[in-house]
């Protein structure tokens, strides 16, 4: 720690490194995975995020969807200006990266249920590989709008065929897998045999799984979003309840999610203005 109390690891995590994209994979019609040389000097925990800088456009938080010793991957759905531009990038293009940031998932041995909806499956993919590595009995439930919006399908099915995970895919219109939502499937599977439930996806999904986990008294962690600006716990822009998503999250446990209270009910815009979600 320096005399100024700005420790080296913090400086390191918040330095914007300019990196080249080495590979892009079109996951579905509006979602792309981008891979770059691993710029991090510390090993990220699944659930941690990066701030991706598109010079001249914006800098946005993206969770880590892939990580090995050489390569960092993020998965982005084109919904706004910055994410659409990111989705259009090609190998050779450069972006700025800082991270790994925030608090990730807790790895618990035993049996786990991983529930994801839409592009919310991104941080869960990296988590699933880590769970497999440490020998956790992993049950995966992914839900998508329709077949055209499915992500990581082949990859997850390969893991399932190899017997490394149990997998259940659902689409709302039934065009692939079960005609159901991720919640429908998860609520049927969830019982006291699970040692941890991990969730990421639409807040409505997180809120309903939270209710279920409280009823059944099961431990749960979910990754949530906030309007991120500084990413270092100082500006307060990403506040949910009385917690900062960038510093106290993005992964919160069941009790903190309950304390936050507003999950799936309201969120903040850039100005801090609160808007209802229901």
């Amino acid at each position: 720690m320096s005399v100024y109390h700005i420790d080296r690891s913090m400086l390191d995590r918040h330095r914007r490194r300019i990196v080249r994209i080495v590979r892009r994979v079109d996951e579905c019609l509006d979602t792309v995975s981008l891979y770059m040389h691993n710029p991090f000097s510390s090993d990220p925990i699944p659930g941690q995020f990066t701030m991706i800088w598109i010079p001249g456009v914006d800098e946005i938080p993206l969770s880590i969807s892939y990580m090995d010793s050489c390569i960092l991957g993020v998965t982005v759905r084109g919904v706004g200006e910055a994410t659409r531009i990111l989705c259009s990038l090609q190998p050779g293009d450069t972006i700025g990266v800082r991270g790994p940031l925030g608090r990730g998932f807790t790895i618990v041995k035993g049996r786990s249920l991983v529930v994801g909806g839409g592009v919310g499956v991104a941080p869960l993919r990296y988590l699933i590989y880590r769970l497999i590595d440490v020998g956790v009995d992993t049950y995966v439930v992914f839900g998508f709008r329709d077949k055209l919006h499915t992500i990581y399908l082949e990859e997850m099915e390969k893991l399932s065929v190899e017997g490394r995970i149990k997998l259940c895919i659902a689409t709302e219109d039934g065009s692939y897998g079960f005609k159901a939502t991720a919640y429908d499937i998860a609520s049927r599977i969830l019982d006291e045999s699970f040692d941890m439930v991990y969730v990421c996806g639409p807040e409505e999904l997180i809120r309903r799984i939270l209710v279920l986990c409280v009823e059944k008294d099961l431990p749960m962690e979910a990754s949530i979003e906030g309007y991120m600006k500084c990413g270092m716990g100082v500006c307060g822009s990403c506040v949910r309840g009385a917690y900062l998503v960038c510093r106290d999250g993005p992964v919160f446990d069941r009790d903190k999610l309950l304390e936050i209270g507003e999950i799936g009910l309201r969120r903040r815009r850039a100005s801090g203005t609160i808007e209802p979600l229901l």
């Binding site: 700005i6 001249g56 600006k229 716990g233 100082v234 500006c235 100005s271 203005t273």
Partner: protein, 305 residues
């Protein structure tokens, strides 16, 4: 453990400790402000600066971390005065005074914003921000003693709560602005806001912040802030909140010796979290004890003897 009473009275506010959460830091959510107000060592909390209308602030990047501080260019994001009143409704169990920071692009707008936010019962005092270095219109106000005086006297006519003015270090006229504010009826001064600054990405050949310019805070700012407090204390009689780069309890002591009656903490919260209030309160208390003082008041301005 603190054995000494650190309470201070400043501009009509009674604080349990002289340590204040600086404006711009975390102060957007009523619930979070209330939580911070209950943390050990906290004397008061200040909100983000609130304007008449909602403002998104600048796109990212809005912050740069350096080995000696931060440069930020948030661009005054805030939900606007009316929406902020609802935010304050959620600030339940406030256990320290809340200071509402506000700004405007003109004297009329400043007065109108003050009128709206001052009426909330949870607002104990107001702090007029005329010194944000990355929002033009607000930045320049703080260089003009006569405009600051006009704004202060008009605001004081319509509110019955203490009014602080947060001063800009980006002018050689800081003492003149301080004096003008005091003569116009300000109850206290906060010195200083950030210093206008810049950072360039050497790989991409461009300024990093989307707003180009930002405000430098953190340890690099401390000696400048200290000099400003010292100069103002010599010339102006109203209480001063020292602000700029405090990162340990001896920094707090220095500011008080220079003439500050209270000290605001900002960037250090990024480095150490909210627990820093307790750490600095304990450090201040042991300093006073070691030097044989019984209260903070006894050392305010002591370096001027």
């Amino acid at each position: 453990m603190r054995s000494l009473d650190l309470s201070v009275d400043i501009a009509g506010l009674s604080l349990k400790t002289p340590l204040i959460l600086a404006s711009g830091i975390l102060g957007l959510s009523g619930r979070l402000l209330a939580k911070i107000s209950r943390a050990e060592g906290v004397g008061a909390v200040t909100t983000k600066s609130i304007g008449l209308k909602p403002r998104d602030g600048y796109p990212n990047p809005t912050i740069i971390l350096l080995p000696y501080g931060l440069i930020n260019s948030m661009g005054l994001p805030n939900p606007g005065a009316e929406a902020f009143l609802k935010e304050l409704d959620e600030a339940e169990d406030l256990s320290s005074p809340l200071i509402a920071s506000f700004y405007g692009y003109s004297v009329d707008e400043i007065v109108e914003t003050a009128r709206i936010i001052a009426k909330h019962p949870r607002v104990s005092a107001l702090e007029l921000n005329v010194s944000c270095p990355h929002v033009s219109g607000v930045y320049e106000l703080g260089f003009k003693p006569e405009l600051v005086a006009e704004a202060v006297s008009k605001v004081k006519k319509i509110i019955d709560k203490p009014l602080f003015v947060k001063l800009s270090p980006n002018t050689h006229l800081i003492v003149d602005v301080a004096r003008a504010a005091a003569e116009a009826g300000a109850d206290g001064l906060t010195a200083i806001n950030t210093v206008k600054a810049l950072a360039i990405d050497t790989e991409l050949f461009r300024p990093i912040l989307s707003g180009v310019y930002g405000g430098l805070s953190g340890p690099a700012l401390k000696p400048i802030a200290l000099r400003c407090v010292y100069e103002i204390y010599k010339e102006v009689d109203i209480p001063i909140v020292g602000c700029g780069g405090v990162s340990n309890s001896l920094d707090v002591v220095e500011f008080i010796l220079a003439g500050a009656s209270a000290v605001a903490l900002g960037s250090v919260i990024a480095f150490k979290g909210v627990g820093v209030f307790r750490e600095l309160a304990e450090g201040l208390s042991s300093y006073l004890e070691r030097k044989g003082f019984r209260s903070v008041r006894e050392i305010v301005g002591l370096s001027h003897r």
